[in-house]
């Protein structure tokens, strides 16, 4: 036992969790912690807005597989975190956010910079802790990391009243915690696995639908082995991009509103969908009754609340995904030999050959699909791409072939404009030796471009490629297609000058007018010691296709 202040115990506990980096902004109610942090050896990266701090922690977690840590003061610091935490929650990303709080005797008095952290964060976190005594801190930190990083991962908030940071006490640091109401995962039921093997082997046209859970559980290799063994084509969700190398012959790309032509087509021709670690988002399935019609859905997930939430499965397995897929692979191997060929695999191959990488409805050389393809060409295999939200994101999803897990980072569930750039900085902090690129829209980038200051001063150089169409492009696309071209509040105009903006932050800025110029600028940018913003003016009128309108089946793709 040692006598520590609460703040000291907090930092010590973070060190015991092997925290190396914290993204945050200090303020009155968290100053005792920042005081201890100064000499702690933990790197603090100063954000310029707490939303970005949370996105950085999120990007760090996605790139590394570790828990990302964000820190903020009470009141406005806490509320600024909300979007970032909600974003991490929707995509099940392990983030621990530590917020300052007014002293316990002032709780509920509308004290200066008081905000009800427990009330605000409850629906967008796995759990919120508010230690009321300094001695609780070591346990709370241990429990927060345990909850964030196990089971279905997700964000956890620790809200620490200031007097709890200041108070001193004998501290005991537990090696592990037990939370009696929390079971991270259940062992998969062997008979349900056997039944899955039966259904799968009796299928004529099976596909695997791989979601974010495959990446989070580290199951990519087993999943690909299973697919190869039975020659089952693999489609993914947006979050599952990268679970199979997208240049793999069986990889068809993502399904959904802006899925690839071949993936949407194939999934709707299938008779069995082996769905692994997905939550059947409405943007992936589109019209659910069409999606489930005429095919059997098998659902594997660690989280029992996902079973039947959006799609009623024909059969399901609840449990840790890697264990479950490995058991399935073994069960399959016991029953049949590896397949050499099948008509169905041929059909997939034919679709892929015909449609892979095809650009619909755009004929210019300098266009987003070509830029994205160029980025893939130049970026090393382990290079990381993040995206903003809107057309840029969908072009990235359609044309950037992810070759390794955790190298494609996008805001799937919340669709948060402004996520990509701070997430890229967070990813860079996790993987300093790897180039990190944010594929951006001009509207989104403006939301968090103040993170340029963080990127430059902290020496975390990333590359921002702005597909600059001078409009809120995705909204404009909907207005073009569904609102008779009545553009309402989408024109962003010629401001700002992104090159000047970058330079004002002491970053690099270049504007390119051809694919050739882009290639040159991009090659330099990924080697640069400083963040580079590449401004790429494109037409404001381009649409992303394929496009499945809301309410339609994945069969009904608009392609121009």
């Amino acid at each position: 036992m040692v006598v520590y202040s609460g703040a000291h115990a907090l930092v010590e506990a973070l060190k015991r969790e092997k925290v190396e980096v914290i993204f945050g902004i200090p303020g009155g109610a968290i100053m005792p912690v920042y005081d201890v942090l100064k000499d702690s050896g933990i790197r603090h990266i100063l954000a310029r807005h707490e939303q970005s701090a949370a996105h950085m922690a999120d990007g760090y977690a996605r790139a590394s597989g570790k828990v990302g840590v964000a820190m903020a003061t009470s009141g406005p610091g806490t509320t600024n975190l909300v979007t970032g935490i909600a974003n991490a929650y929707m995509d099940s990303i392990p983030v621990v956010a530590i917020t300052g709080q007014v002293p316990t005797h002032q709780l509920g008095t509308d004290a200066f910079q008081e905000t009800d952290a427990l009330g605000i964060f409850n629906p967008i976190t796995k759990y919120v802790f508010q230690p009321r005594r300094p001695t609780e801190i070591p346990y709370v930190v241990k429990a927060a990391f345990y909850l964030a990083s196990t089971g279905r991962t997700g964000p956890v908030v620790i809200d620490v009243p200031k007097d709890v940071q200041v108070g001193e006490a004998d501290m005991v640091f537990p090696d592990k915690v037990e939370i009696r109401g929390y079971v991270p995962s259940h062992p998969p039921d062997p008979s349900a696995i056997e039944r899955t093997a039966e259904i799968l082997l009796n299928a004529e046209r099976p596909v695997i639908l791989a979601g974010g859970g495959v990446i989070k559980s580290g199951s990519c290799d087993v999943m690909v082995a299973l697919a190869e063994y039975l020659l089952i084509p693999v489609v993914t969700t947006l979050m599952g991009k990268g679970s199979i190398p997208e240049n793999h012959p069986l990889a068809m790309g993502p399904i959904g509103m802006h899925g690839t032509y071949q993936a949407n087509k194939l999934v709707m021709e299938s008779d069995v969908i082996l769905s692994l670690g997905v939550r059947f988002s409405d943007r992936s399935t589109m019209d659910v009754s069409e999606f489930t019609k005429e095919r059997k859905i098998i659902h594997f997930d660690i989280d029992p609340t996902e079973i039947g939430k959006n799609v009623k499965p024909y059969h399901y397995v609840v449990g840790e995904l890697r264990t479950a897929i490995t058991m399935l692979y073994e069960a399959v191997k016991r029953r049949v030999r590896s397949k050499k060929e099948s008509l169905w695999a041929k059909r997939a191959k034919q679709l892929k050959e015909e449609y892979d990488g095809r650009v619909f409805g755009i004929n210019k050389e300098l266009c987003s699909p070509n830029i994205v393809k160029k980025i893939r060409e130049i970026l090393p295999v382990n290079g990381i791409v993040t995206t903003e939200v809107g057309q840029n994101q969908m072009w990235a999803s359609l044309y950037f072939k992810v070759l390794k897990p955790r190298t494609f980072i996008t805001s799937g569930g919340l669709g948060t404009m402004g996520f990509g750039f701070p997430a890229a900085i967070g990813a860079k902090a996790a993987k300093p030796d790897v180039p990190v690129v944010d594929i951006a829209g001009d509207g989104s980038f403006l939301m968090t471009c103040n993170s340029l200051a963080t990127s430059v001063t902290e020496g975390l150089p990333v590359v921002v490629c702005i597909l600059n169409n001078s409009v809120l492009g995705m909204v404009a696309q909907w207005q073009r297609l569904f609102y008779q071209g009545r553009y309402s509040a989408v024109w962003l105009g010629p401001t700002p000058d992104f090159v000047q903006l970058a330079k004002a932050f002491k970053a690099e800025g270049v504007r390119v007018h051809s694919l050739e110029e882009f290639e040159k600028a991009f090659k330099e940018a990924i080697k640069s010691e400083v963040t580079t913003v590449i401004d790429i003016p494109i037409s404001p009128e381009e649409n992303v296709f394929p496009f499945v309108p809301v309410g339609e089946s994945l069969k009904n793709m608009m392609v121009g």
Binding site: Y127, P304, T305
Partner: protein, 163 residues
């Protein structure tokens, strides 16, 4: 598609600490389901409280709530209680209009029949306490309303499994 709706009873063991009721009830609020009744109190172990929640729902919805409640970190255990496998009880306090002797006598008879206890008699009213199943209490209130029911306060269902 909605299945057949009926009253569902969930019996939860939860951590007995601040914020837990909020966490539990949030699931219902967010999905726009009304909690019919909720009764909470400590168990034989002071650290653990029992929460009995009732709602009107179909099978599928009830099951989805069980899964959500099980996943809730402060919830230690969840049981979906079938009325035939459990003892379900509710308590109500009912203030009945009674300003003459005849009415009072008649109310006392009614109380006898239901095993209800008279708590207070004043010039204008009788206050009684009744314990029973929810439908017994419904029944009692409906009969008492012949005299005029001024106020009712019900605890909501609490329950223990049989055996």
């Amino acid at each position: 598609m909605k299945g057949k709706e009926s009253l569902r009873v969930f019996s939860l063991l939860v951590e007995n600490k601040p914020g837990v009721l909020f966490r539990v009830s949030s699931h219902f609020r967010r999905r726009s389901y009304n909690i019919e009744s909720i009764a909470v109190g400590p168990t034989e172990n002071r650290d653990i409280a029992r929460m009995v929640i009732t709602m009107i729902a179909d099978d599928e919805t009830a099951d989805s709530f069980v899964r959500l409640l099980r996943r809730t970190i402060d919830v230690i255990d969840v049981k979906k209680i079938k009325s035939e496998d459990a003892i379900l009880r509710e308590l109500a306090i009912v203030k009945i209009r009674a300003s003459d002797v005849q009415t009072r006598d008649s109310i006392l008879n009614l109380c006898n029949a239901f095993g209800a206890r008279v708590l207070e008699i004043t010039k204008n009213s009788v206050i009684v306490e009744i314990t029973g199943t929810s439908s017994q209490i419904d029944n009692f209130i409906s009969l008492a309303s012949d005299y005029g029911v001024k106020e009712v306060s019900r605890t909501g269902v609490t329950a223990l499994s049989r055996g």
